[in-house]
């Protein structure tokens, strides 16, 4: 899986591409775990390049949110396409996350906390 990474000030934006499923979720998990271990505390995940996310990917998002202390202010998601948003909704995950309409809005949101 390809994972793009961009920094703007204290905010790191992670942009995985393709499917987030059983075989790719561990790659994303490692990437995010490394960011947390490096002390990053303001993270945006941009899903605009993601085809769909399975339960394995949802688990990774749950671990990321917990790793950031559960504060909605330090994590924002953006670029959720129809498939990704649908799965988040079915799983009851939307209330757990800050979801923004654009990457700029997401970066601004976590950067201003």
């Amino acid at each position: 899986m390809q994972i793009g990474e961009t920094r703007a000030g204290a905010v790191v934006t992670v942009a995985p591409a393709g499917r987030i499923d059983t075989t790719t979720a561990p790659v994303l998990e490692q990437h995010l775990t490394a960011l947390l271990a490096a002390g990053e505390r303001r993270i945006v995940v941009d899903f605009s390049g993601v085809d769909y996310i399975s339960s394995a990917g949802l688990r990774v998002m749950l671990l990321l949110a917990r790793g950031l202390g559960g504060g909605k202010g330090s994590l924002a998601l953006c670029g959720l396409g129809e498939a990704v948003r649908h799965v988040f909704q079915l799983a009851g995950f939307l209330p757990l996350f800050t979801v923004c309409d654009s990457r700029d809005a997401a970066v601004h949101r976590v950067g201003s906390q």
Partner: protein, 140 residues
């Protein structure tokens, strides 16, 4: 016209990916609506990875997968030789507790139940048969 494809994949995570890739190819060649084909890809991933992780428990025994597309219905049949396991009886997942108490277990099967139009399980000839049906053009 009825299109059928049968394959046998190893009971490993690499086999799961092989089956998902094969359906993607199948969908393209049968001109399934790509807008919604992710539902089947996701469902395959969930069911097969569940079999590999929990059912086969490392035995790597092959899993037989059949895709068919006829009369506007996509039918995917998955047959494995693991111990009897009816995923439809799995407990409902937690979709409402707060972040720190949220348990991710069971989400996969629940997603499959909601993304497919029908799912059936049967234990027959000492094998688990799991069949899911999706109607791409059905009103949702």
């Amino acid at each position: 016209m009825r299109a059928v494809e049968e394959l046998s994949v190893p009971g490993t995570l690499a086999g799961v990916r092989q089956a998902v890739d094969a359906f993607e190819q199948f969908g393209r060649s049968r001109e399934l609506p790509p807008r919604d084909a992710w539902r089947v890809l996701l469902a395959l991933d969930e069911i097969l990875s569940n079999i590999v992780r929990h059912g086969l428990a490392g035995s790597r025994a092959p899993i037989d997968v059949t895709f068919s597309f006829a009369d506007g219905r996509v039918v995917v049949e998955i047959v494995d030789s693991a111990e009897a396991f009816n995923p439809l009886l799995a407990p409902a997942p937690d979709t409402s507790s707060p972040l720190d108490q949220r348990q991710p277990g069971g989400l996969g099967i629940a997603l499959v139940q909601q993304l497919m139009d029908e799912i059936e399980y049967e234990r027959r000839d000492e094998r688990n048969h799991f069949v899911m049906t999706w109607r791409p053009d059905a009103d949702r």
